[in-house]
């Protein structure tokens, strides 16, 4: 495929960061919640939706994005936040509810906003879809070749916002890439019990846009399909709907008993781990020496450790800070004429 080695290694590194991040988060989340689980207790309170196993879709898509491109994500946002380049320390601090967090502790893990890399997400299913369409509308009005990506689960493809967003983007030929993460479960309900078609990519036909299904939770397959979709959007040829089969290795949220999973499913999924597969690929194709891969893994772990340390050491916001930031205090800078042209 002719992908530069540096990029392959960077993608491997990003996947390792994500996996390690989610595993450390899973451990950290349990602090103060044992032996009795109380969602409001411990180092990291509140709901926690982890994305371990879904690394290929996040990394394979975001590898094509620039800092200025927009991403609108979901309630399970860590993997694509990391892949998009969200500041890991401030993101972790936000998830801990610390004053150094992206939102100074006002949003938490489902509401991560990093305007520096044009990243946002939402705890409401499918809500980011029309917002990505709007970002793409802005990009076209600004006469740029920036693109907008929205990630959402296969369960979100049954929401009205999905269909409204696809229709608008197709109608206006906007530079949007709709990425369905098919992890097979909308909390407990499997795709075949919620969705009338096997592949959401087929639904693209209803809006006259390309629909692509990528199976196997494979990084390079995602990378290739996303590259095509992003290039198409940058050329002004309109949106693409991309559905990626991926695997959720943890529960819907931490504390989910996962009674809906067939016995042995997680073990089977772990046996075809996409990160291990990609590692083997890099070594067997002699794309990177094992020592370099090991170093990369070490660096990845180090950056996660630093982010968690930063979050732990940071202070909580003063309680009365709750009253701030409902509104910003500014009005228009009146530089619009120059800002757009």
């Amino acid at each position: 495929m002719g992908i530069p080695k540096e990029r392959l290694l960077q993608m491997y590194r990003d996947m390792v960061v994500i996996r390690h991040y989610e595993e450390i988060m899973a451990q950290t989340y349990l602090e103060g919640k044992q032996p009795v689980f109380n969602i409001a207790a411990g180092t990291v309170p509140g709901e926690m939706h982890l994305a371990a196993g879904q690394e290929p879709v996040a990394v394979g898509v975001c590898a094509h994005l620039r800092k200025e491109d927009a991403v609108a994500g979901t309630h399970r946002p860590h993997h694509f936040a990391i892949a998009k380049g969200v500041d890991l320390k401030r993101m972790t601090a936000e998830i801990f509810g610390k004053v150094t967090g992206l939102g100074q502790g006002k949003g938490g893990h489902m509401h991560l906003f990093d305007p520096d890399v044009h990243f946002g997400c939402s705890g409401i299913i499918a809500a980011g879809i029309p917002q990505a369409v709007g970002a793409a509308l802005a990009f076209r009005q600004q006469k740029s070749d920036k693109v907008a990506v929205t990630f959402f689960g296969e369960g979100a493809a049954n929401q009205g916002a999905f269909h409204e967003g696809l229709n608008l983007a197709a109608l206006w030929r906007l530079p949007v890439i709709f990425v369905v993460e098919d992890n097979d479960y909308a909390i407990s309900v499997p795709k075949q019990k919620s969705t009338a078609v096997a592949s959401n990519a087929d639904r693209a036909a209803g809006y006259g846009i390309p629909g692509v299904y990528v199976g196997e939770n494979d990084l390079l397959a995602v990378y290739e399909a996303a590259g095509e979709a992003v290039a198409r959007a940058r050329r002004g040829e309109g949106p693409t709907l991309l559905e990626v089969k991926t695997d959720r290795l943890f529960g819907h949220f931490q504390g989910d008993a996962e009674l809906y999973r067939p016995k042995g499913e997680v073990e089977r999924l772990r046996a075809k781990d996409p990160i291990a597969r990609f590692r083997t690929y890099l070594i067997e194709r002699e794309l990177a020496p094992e020592t370099e891969i090991t170093d990369t893994e070490q660096q990845a772990r180090q950056s996660v450790a630093e982010a968690f340390a930063f979050a732990r050491e940071s202070a909580y916001p003063a309680p009365e800070e709750a009253l701030k930031h409902v509104f910003v205090e500014t009005t228009s800078d009146r530089r619009g004429r120059h800002a757009v042209n």
Binding site: G103, H118, S122, P130, V133, E164, N167, L171, V326, T330
Partner: protein, 340 residues
């Protein structure tokens, strides 16, 4: 300097479009989107003439897809644009409320103030023309209740222009709620005095400043939008009977000029709140509570409220007229207030 040509009179719809056009000329980030905002000019003429002036790239007719285009307005605002999205009737908010109250209203807060959402959501309110319960509501109390939205409810063309200009320049989401009956539309009953002086030059009216429409000493009548006209008509009637009513137009519900109400009640010692929105849990309760908290000792009589009595807006003329506030009902309520 504002023009002093007092003869320049505009309808509210023309005042609104003039404000939008002037800001669009000034700032290319400002654009309009919504249903029938283009060649139709807005069902209530709130965007008339803008398509001809600015073209289809900046005045965008959308499909009937409110979650889609209002969500898109938010996405565009977060990427540096300054959209004005029209929700044709406020009654339609139910099909897109998630984008409004969970996202437009909250994203700045979630971001710890590090992200602006400069967006105007313009919508039509009010009844009195037999359009029944899904096209006649006011609902400003619902939106004012939810944190994160500024809520503007103008009663005059002058205020509508200045408040729309302010809304477009504000870096926060603003819900701009005009009353269909005050737009000066040829196909509705015209309200006398609702066409008024509007300077040609651009000007902004700061939010959170109530306007004392008429000074008085015996009772304070607080209202917004169409209710202000009913209150003024009632005040003229009451004057003939020797009762002096002060009429306050709040103009914006968020931010709310509580001090103007308190100041007036300390002078008149009596309060009537007139609201075309529902009675319970709304604007009238909020104003009454403010006075109870800050001017209780000044009251000579219990606070009175005149609002839609917690029923959907009915269709038939006698039914609808029965539930909506009007001048005779205000006169009667004030007399009761003075006799209590």
């Amino acid at each position: 300097m504002l023009s002093i040509n007092a003869d320049r009179k505009l309808t509210m719809s023309k005042a609104i479009t003039e404000a939008i056009a002037q800001e669009m000329e000034q700032d290319e980030r400002v654009f309009v989107l919504g249903e029938d905002v283009g060649i139709y000019g807005g069902i209530f003429s709130s965007t008339a003439g803008l398509l001809e002036k600015f073209g289809p790239e900046r005045v965008i007719d959308t499909p009937i897809s409110e979650t889609g285009f209002i969500g898109a307005a938010l996405g565009a605002a977060m990427e540096g644009m300054r959209p004005i999205a029209e929700l044709m009737f406020v009654d339609f908010f139910g099909v897109c409320m998630d984008q409004i109250y969970n996202h437009i209203a909250k994203n700045t807060y979630f971001a710890g103030g590090h992200m602006k959402v400069p967006l105007v959501l313009m919508t039509a309110t009010g009844g009195g023309y037999n359009d029944a319960g899904q096209h006649s509501q006011s609902l400003w109390g619902t939106f004012a209740h939810l944190p994160g939205l500024k809520v503007v409810v103008p009663s005059t063309p002058y205020d509508a222009k200045g408040l729309m200009t302010q809304a477009i320049r504000d870096d926060n989401p603003v819900l701009f709620m005009f009353h269909k009956g005050l737009m000066g539309l040829g196909w509705m009953t015209l309200v006398k005095d609702a066409t008024g002086h509007v300077p040609e030059e651009a000007y902004a009216i700061p939010f959170g400043q109530a306007d004392v429409k008429r000074e008085g000493t015996d009772v304070t009548i607080v209202s917004v939008s169409m209710g202000v006209y009913h209150a003024l008509e009632a005040a003229r009637e009451l004057e003939r009977e020797g009762i002096s009513a002060e009429v306050i137009d709040l103009r914006t519900l968020v931010p709310l000029d509580r001090e103007a109400v308190v100041r007036s009640v300390k002078k008149t010692h009596r309060l009537l709140v007139v609201d075309e929105d529902y009675l319970s849990y709304g604007m009238s309760g909020e104003i009454a509570a403010t006075v109870a908290e800050r001017a209780f000792d000044y009251l000579d009589a219990p606070v009175r409220r005149l609002a839609v009595p917690d029923v959907p807006i009915p269709f038939a003329r006698p039914l609808e007229q029965f539930v909506l506030p009007d001048a005779p009902k205000i006169v009667a309520a004030v007399k009761e207030l003075l006799n209590s």
